[in-house]
Structures are given as C-alpha cells and as structure tokens.
Amino acid sequence: MRSTWFLLGGLLCWTLSLFLYLQPRLWRLEWGYRLAELHQQVIEREEENRGLIAQRARLRAIRRIERIAREELGMALPQEGQVILIRKKHP
C-alpha cells in the first residue's frame, strides 16, 4: 500500500515538474506570436501614419491650393494698388 502511495506521489511530482517546465515555454511561444503580431501592427500603423502625413502634405501644398484658388474658385492675387499699406505710428 505504501509503495503505491510512493508511486502515485512520484508520478504527481513528475507531472508537476513537467507542467512547470513546459508551461512557461508554451506561454513564451504564445506571447512570441502575439508580440510578432503586435509588432507587425505597429509597423502597419506607422506606415499608414506616414502615408497620411504624405497625403496631408500633398493636399496642403501651396502650389495645389493656389491652383485650386485660381482655376476652380476664380480667385486672383491682389495687384499693386489693391493693397493699402497702413504704417504703425511709433510713439
């Protein structure tokens, strides 16, 4: 009877040791996949951000804005005489 308990105890210890040995490795593997996935997402978001910055810069380009103002909105730069300069009087 005693030997059966010893056998069961040994088996439990062995199973526990195996669990303690394997589980962190499994977690590490799992987190490794998750980390890789997140890293990929970071790269994608950064790329998207850079793409949006480039697009914003393209849309804000003064040449484009001026072209739209002139050609689509019919605006024109003020000519000489159309701007009156008012000088500040210094005390």
Partner: protein, 484 residues
C-alpha cells in the same frame, strides 16, 4: 526459442548502434554546420530596414517623407534642386538627400525572432534590438515653403515670358545667413527624377560660376569707400563715355556722362567711373577685398557640388585685369557667393556663412540647431550705410527702377554680362541678366538675387531681372507681414 531471442536482441543492438553513430555524427561532428543551417532555416533574427528621416521646411512642412520604403516628395518639384532625390536602393543621390545621406538613413534594427514551421514569426520576449541609430533622423531646412513657391513661380514666369534658357533665384536672410528660397529653372519632380536629363538636376545656384558683370562693381567701390580712397559725393570725370585701356581696348559707358558723383556711378552703373576709382585701390587691395567678400572660395553650404568660382591671383593678371575685374569680368562667381556678398552690405559689414540646414532634428526640437556662423567682418557699418544709400538710388532713379515697389524702399544693383562663346562661329550675343539687392533698404529682411540666363529680346538686368526681384519682394514682404 533461444536463438530467436538472441537474433532479435542482436538486431535491436545493431539498430541502436547505428542510431548512436548517426546521432554522434549529427550532434558532434557536424554540429556547427548543422546549427548554421538550422538558424538559417529558422530565420533567427529579423532585420527591419530603418525609415529615412523626414525633411521639413522652417515652419515644419514636410518636404520629403518615406512611405513603405519609398521616398515621397509631397510638394512635387518644389525646391527639387535643394532636396535632391533618393535612388532605388535608398541611397541619397543629389542635394540634401546626398549630403546628409548617413544622417537621414537609419541603420535599421534586428529583432530577436525565429520562424516556425509555417513560416510565422515568433518574437523572443527580448523584443526589438533597436539602437539609437535604428531610425533615420529628420532635418529641418532653412527654406520657407511659401517664399520658395513665390520665387519659383515668379522666376518660371519670367523665363517662359522671355524664352530664356533658364534662371536662378535666391532669397537670403542677411542677419543669419539662412537661405529662405533657392530656385533653379527649369526644375524637376524628384518623384520622377529619371524623366529629365541629368543636367537638369544640377543646382546651378551653387554649382555654376558666372561672370557677374555690373553687380560686382559694388565690391571695388565698397573697398574704395572703406579704405577712404573716395566718397559718395566725389565727382568723377566720365571721360566723355570712352576710356582707353590699351591700344586695342576702349572701355565705354552705355550712357556717356561728363561727370558723376560716386553715388551716381553706382546708380547709373558707369564702367568708366568704377574703373577710375578701382585703379586707386591697386591690384593687391582689389584682390584682397574680393577674397574678403568670399569670392574665390566655396561658401561651405551643406549641399554637394558647390563651386568656388574663378578668381586668379594678381600675379596671373594681365595689364587690364584690374579694370576688367572691377566691372565684373575675368571673374566667375556663383549666385550664392554674390548673394552672400550683398548680405554683407545689408547686415552692416559681416560675411556670414550661408546655411540651408536650420537643425539636424525635427522642427521645434531643442537639439541639433545650427547657429549662424560669422566668417569675418568685411566692411564697417558706416561704409555699408553709404553703399545702401547708393543702392537705393539705383532703384529710385538708376538702372534698377523696375525693382521699385510700393510701400517699401529697396536697394540693389543691376548686372548684364555677355556670355563667352566656346563654340566657334557662334554670334556671342548671349547674356546673363541679373539683379541683386535687399528689402527693406533699412533693416533688411531679405537679400534677393535673380539671374536670367540667355533672355531673348531685352537682356539688361534692369529690364529682365529687376521685375522678378520686385514681384518676389512684394509678395514675400506681404507674407512676412502676416506671419511675423
């Protein structure tokens, strides 16, 4: 039964022995080769290419951005000669992209990772092994997108209007040496740089040496004033419009004058008056002042391919070299050198190193700012004040009246240089028309230089380049009123 058991045992033993030998061979003898093969197969460590740093203008507008490993210039051809471009392999090939390639280019980073059997990445918890230099660093330029746009637009319009070969224009802050705009026409789109001929990539504002002509006259006259050899009021005999320099060379003025004050000599760009005053300097002093103003040396601007200009030492001069140098011939200057020399007059006498990079960092960053770099004092403030007075007269009643703008006083000088013809039999009737000056004349905000290469029809600096100066000045001053 016994022999059968022995046979099985022998077979098992033999098999185990073979297995052990194979294991020994794999684990011990071929260990290093196998482990290299394995790590190659696993792809241990993934290399991530660093992103190239962004280029900004002085107000934080993006001029070059990297997206998915590709360099994008969102503002098209704007400032293309300054920015340059990047080749297919991510190497900077021209302009700032080339000059600061190592700073802009990130070294990349290595990730501690392996691939599983399906080829999926598994990262080690140690994560990314990123160093400080993994990502490329940004650069803030001194250029202002709006001023650059104004300059490019006005320059292009005039070159097209006059069917000229090309043109160059610069806007410089005389008190810091910062270049606010640098334009060369024809320009190109750095997003598609291969669509134009390589000679179009050349930044002619710094790489070309041109004979300056009359814009250079201010140098010997400034020297004469500084040395006390003349004054603005001194009356100089105009020699009836013709001065014999040698048996075969007679110097003429376009508009003959009997006599002019030195101020009038500058205002009306008299060759004879300039030569007569310059002779008092002598070869050594004229050469020394020319060098002091920065001619004959590279300015040291942070751009590739800068020329130093052409200036021969006095021992190599002919008998008439002094006279020709005084009127801006027998010398080659880059447009940038000429603008920097006029900045000396505008700021009260200091030669500053022209700068195109404001900071080796993103805008607003406290680090990486590059401070103004005074090279030397060239003139006293009193001499500069006298020269400014004379240059104002150029615009009010001299050769540069078309540079005058409403509401502000401008100061500047016209120049018309005939181009030497290297092709035998060609007519030689080719000119470079220029205007360089500053606005407002008192407490100037900008030195503006305009050069039009080979205009058709009118070719005088006053008729061709001065109107571009006026339009750039008018629009830029209006812009600065809003933003300052």
């Amino acid at each position: 039964m016994k022999p059968r058991i022995y046979a099985i045992m022998l077979f098992a033993l033999g098999g185990s022995l073979l297995l052990a030998m194979r294991l020994y061979a794999l684990q011990v003898e071929e260990r290093s080769a196998r482990s290299t093969q394995a790590s190659r197969q696993y792809g241990k460590g993934s290399f991530l290419q660093g992103q190239r740093g962004t280029l900004y203008d002085r107000r934080g507008k993006e001029l070059a951005v990297s997206v998915q490993g590709k360099r994008v210039y969102p503002r098209g051809s704007l400032a293309s000669h300054v920015l340059g471009f990047v080749g297919r392999d991510g190497q900077g090939l021209e302009g700032i992209e080339y000059y600061y390639d190592r700073h802009l280019q990130g070294k990349g980073s290595r990730i501690a990772a392996i691939r599983d059997a399906r080829g999926e990445w598994i990262y080690s918890p140690r994560g990314a092994q990123e160093g400080d230099e993994a990502q490329g660093k940004a650069i803030t330029l001194t250029l202002d997108e709006v001023v650059q746009h104004i300059v490019e637009e006005e320059l292009a319009a005039q070159v097209v209007r006059l069917e000229a070969k090309g043109g160059m224009a610069l806007v410089l802050d005389p008190f810091s040496g910062e270049i606010l705009a640098m334009a060369v026409y024809p320009s190109f789109d750095p997003n598609a740089y291969r669509h134009v001929k390589p000679r179009t990539w050349r930044n002619r504002a710094i790489a070309d040496s041109v004979e300056p002509g009359s814009t250079f006259k201010i140098i010997p006259l400034a020297a004469a004033l500084e040395e006390g050899l003349s004054s603005l009021q001194e009356q100089i005999d105009g020699e009836g419009g013709a001065l014999v320099l040698s048996r075969s060379i007679t110097l003429r003025d376009v508009h003959p004058h009997r006599g002019l004050s030195l101020e009038g000599v500058i205002a009306h760009s008299s060759n004879i008056g300039t030569v007569k005053v310059s002779r008092r300097l002598g070869q050594e002093k004229l050469y020394r002042y020319t060098r002091l103003f920065g001619f004959g040396n590279r300015t040291g601007i942070e751009l590739p391919g800068e020329a130093g200009g052409l200036l021969r030492p006095p021992e190599k001069w002919s008998k008439v070299s002094l006279e020709f140098l005084a009127i801006g011939q027998e010398i080659g200057v880059t447009p940038l050198q000429l603008a920097a020399a006029y900045a000396v007059i505008a700021n009260g006498g200091l030669l500053l190193k022209p700068r195109i990079v404001k900071a080796l960092a993103p805008p607003g960053s406290p680090e990486g700012n590059i401070a103004p770099h005074p090279v030397r004092r060239v003139l006293s403030p009193a001499t500069c004040a006298q020269l400014t007075r004379a240059l104002k007269r150029v615009v009010v009643e001299g050769t540069g009246t078309r540079a005058a703008l409403e509401g502000y006083e401008a100061a500047g000088k016209t120049g018309t240089a005939q181009k030497m013809s290297l092709r035998p039999g060609s007519s030689g009737e080719r000119y470079v028309a220029s205007f360089v000056g500053f606005v407002p004349a008192e407490r100037p905000q900008a030195v503006i230089l305009v050069m039009i290469d080979e205009p058709r029809g009118a070719h005088q600096g006053g008729a061709v380049a001065a109107p571009v100066f006026r339009e750039v000045a008018r629009r830029a001053l209006r812009y600065w009123q809003r933003v300052h």
